[in-house]
Amino acid sequence: MASLIPTLTLTSSDAFASQALSLSVTDNLSVAAPMADVSRMATNDNIGHGAGVILAESTNQYYVYVKHLGILASDFSSASHVSNDFVTLSDHDATAGLTIKLQPSEFAFFPMKQGDGSDGGGNDGGLKVTKGGADVVIEFAYFTRA
């Protein structure tokens, strides 16, 4: 078992007229394998569970980080389209959307609910990234909740 320390800050000087936004939260999470340290893949890559699938169906709970790197999968270099080339996150077989939509440079961090480990229904578990336009490159990491 290991410790993962996530810290999030949200700041804004102009979101509100009469108060600056300065939010900061941190936590100390107990994590274990299976885990993936910072990694990158294209939305059409198959890293072992099917194209675009980061995590197969599972009964594990995971802490998940995903970032849209804003580059195309075709050469891992050219900039992706600002609005058309978004990605969405769903469960393994894309039957239950996480309702997360990442445009270039956007990221998400969340504790993913465990699935029932079997196919069918809305609680399969797992995590899949699906392209909106062209295939793009994402960065990700995940850690199993201990």
């Binding site: 290991a2 410790s3 993962l4 320390i5 996530p6 810290t7 999030l8 800050t9 949200l10 700041t11 804004s12 000087s13 102009d14 979101a15 509100f16 936004l21 939010l23 939260v25 936590d27 999470l29 994590v31 885990m35 340290d37 910072v38 709970q61 980080y65 970032k67 969405t88 239950a96 959307g97 996480l98 309702t99 997360i100 939509k101 990442l102 445009q103 440079s105 956007e106 990221f107 998400a108 961090f109 969340f110 504790p111 993913m112 609910k113 465990q114 809305g122 609680n123 990491a141 850690f143 909740r145």
Partner: protein, 121 residues
Amino acid sequence: MASLVPTLTLTSSDVSTAEALSLSVTDNLAVSGGAISFQVVTSTTGTVFAAAANYSKSYVFLQNLDANIAMTIEKANNGDEYMTLGAKEFAFFPWAAAVDLAVDAASGTPTLEVRIYQAAS
């Protein structure tokens, strides 16, 4: 239009014996329209706290303020489940506002903090 600057760091000295984890990412998000901050007293019956029909794409911060009780973020009461927020855990994500966000406590009436910043279109 205003700017929202999120910064996430993930650190660990022991997830790997070969390397420390030290990730830091930031962004500069254009936001406009609604910027809502509120707390919800949850229950063991799933309740919608952000109806998709009332929002466009938004940046969402959630934190379980309870020190002991977990809660589930789901589509509706007994609907598709997305996240489990353990005690004091948080989440930050760009929400497509395609389906509702609801919360269901594992027990009791823990409080969920919610902040929603609508993305500039």
